[in-house]
């Protein structure tokens, strides 16, 4: 269709698609926290769901194939928080390093060093 030339990868309406998976999803704790973080970001005025969607779309089709739903969300949330000035890249990098030192598992990462 010549009238849809130039459509972006995420704009899938009307295209052939496979069957819809009707399975229930169970969410990990970290995924629920990502969802809650998005609510907080909106409530605190850092950005809106429009910014989330913009960043998700700009991540491209490869990210859609290789990352899970909430992996894409946390990447898009981070992108928006950096743009909003919530923290600097240096602060983020140093914090990630501190938390990684707690241990290799998510459970270990929950524990603050003095806890």
């Amino acid at each position: 269709m010549t009238d849809t030339d130039g459509r972006r990868w995420h704009d899938m309406g009307g295209q052939d698609a496979g069957p819809v998976c009707a399975d229930d999803h169970d969410f990990a704790l970290w995924e629920k926290r990502v969802d809650a973080l998005m609510v907080l970001c909106g409530a605190k005025g850092f950005f809106t769901v429009d910014g989330l969607r913009r960043a998700l779309e700009d991540m491209g089709e490869d990210a859609f194939e290789t990352m899970s739903y909430y992996e894409r969300w946390i990447a898009a949330i981070n992108q928006n928080l950096i743009e909003a000035g919530a923290y600097t890249l240096t602060e983020l990098g140093e914090r990630m390093e501190q938390i990684a030192e707690r241990g290799p598992t998510y459970a270990a990462a929950q524990k603050a060093p003095d806890a």
Binding site: T4, D5, G14, G51, R54
Partner: protein
């Protein structure tokens, strides 16, 4: 009097809320939904002007041509006013 509109055919490479399959298609205003902040500006953390949002009704024949399974069935989509041209 039905108010006919045509969705713009533009294809800007950024965040928009108008699906590609509707671009260039003609529909009828089903109702006006009121003014909402323009998501194309909100998406980039820009000050957003209010845009009128409309529910536009398209026939399957208009959207899919002879491939339409039920040509007289309709599809409603919510489209911002700056994407619509009166015809």
């Amino acid at each position: 009097m039905p108010e006919y509109v045509r969705v713009k055919t533009i294809m800007p490479p950024g965040h928009v809320r108008t699906p590609a399959y509707l671009r260039g298609k003609t529909g009828v205003i089903e109702r006006a939904l009121g003014p909402f902040s323009n998501p194309e500006q909100l998406a980039y953390a820009l000050p957003a002007e209010k845009q009128p949002l409309y529910r536009v009704r398209f026939t399957m024949a208009e959207l899919w041509g002879t491939a339409a399974e039920h040509p007289t069935d309709t599809l409603d989509a919510e489209i911002y006013g700056h994407w619509l041209e009166k015809i």
